[in-house]
Symmetry: C2
């Protein structure tokens, strides 16, 4: 029974409480449904993705222009991904990129009038949709509690060390099998 597996230590892990498991899966499922609906709406109404909407929203709510890095924050997980999205938004005339006076390395991203307009154009439907899908079945208390819970979770996750969690890379077509040798 001392099968200390190679990388993952497939040893004894307390299984999740049934309620935890349920909460976990239903959370991801519900958000997935919500995301999908939101994506469809944004695409139909403004021809943007949710990521792009987030970027516009960040610029909209910021006091002024942002650098690429500031813009990326919780939205995109790779530098090149952001450059790609910013390229699309710029090509569409929704943002502008220029040099940053403070730091010559940085790029200053500015929301254009068209970007602001598009945001305003898309927002009401977005609000309606989120209300219809997410808030209709919830009480005010639920909303408060949900916001509180997810804020704590987010802050907790942000505080976590990166933990690259990847012992090694697999490139084979065959998925990693659970060490038959350990039997």
């Amino acid at each position: 029974m001392t099968d200390h597996a190679s990388a993952a230590d497939t040893g004894h892990v307390q299984p999740l409480e049934p309620r935890q498991l349920e909460a976990y899966f239903v959370l991801l499922e519900a958000v997935s449904l919500l995301q999908h609906a939101v994506e469809q709406h944004l695409r139909a109404e403004g021809d943007i993705s949710y990521v792009q909407f987030q970027l516009l929203a960040r610029l909209f709510h910021a006091p002024g222009p942002l650098t690429m890095t500031q813009l990326a924050d919780g939205v995109v997980y790779s530098r090149s991904g952001l450059t790609y999205q910013a390229g699309l938004l710029e090509k569409a005339g929704l943002i502008t990129r220029g040099p940053c006076p403070d730091d010559e390395r940085a790029t200053r991203v500015t929301l254009t009038d068209a970007g602001r307009d598009l945001f305003h154009h898309v927002l009401p439907g977005h609000v309606r949709l989120s209300r219809r899908l997410l808030f209709d079945p919830l009480s005010d208390d639920d909303v408060d509690h949900l916001g509180d819970i997810m804020t704590r979770v987010r802050d907790h996750m942000r505080a976590q060390p990166p933990r690259s969690a990847a012992p090694r890379k697999r490139r084979t077509a065959t998925p990693a099998l659970p060490a038959e040798a350990a039997t």
Copy 2:
């Protein structure tokens, strides 16, 4: 002021309560972070995506084989997407596809031993990760409430009529602009 916009009726929409807005954004942000971490773990540990993990999980928890349609349920939003994923899983030896005795049109999907093994191989780390990221900062009450809330939301969304929500398709590179004429 009677600018009844074309499709979206950009008229007066009660803005969301600040708390609602915050709950909405923080929900999506936190889940996005969680998803990203989970995806990375699954890829590193078992070379599968979260979608593929969900498919394996559905098969694992089902009493027996499932048809493609049953398998797709909340996981994938297009038929071809499922065929694609099933193709990958089959190529990796994790599932098997065969004719369905009940309905000659359907495909019977079966989890192989290797699929079961991979699921078991990946699960402990998955549980550890979800615990570390999601459950650590939450009390038992929080978890109960979260599960309850998201269950209601999910059921509500599933009960919603499809509402194709897309007045028309846009294919232009230029995003839909908010009717400058209406100014």
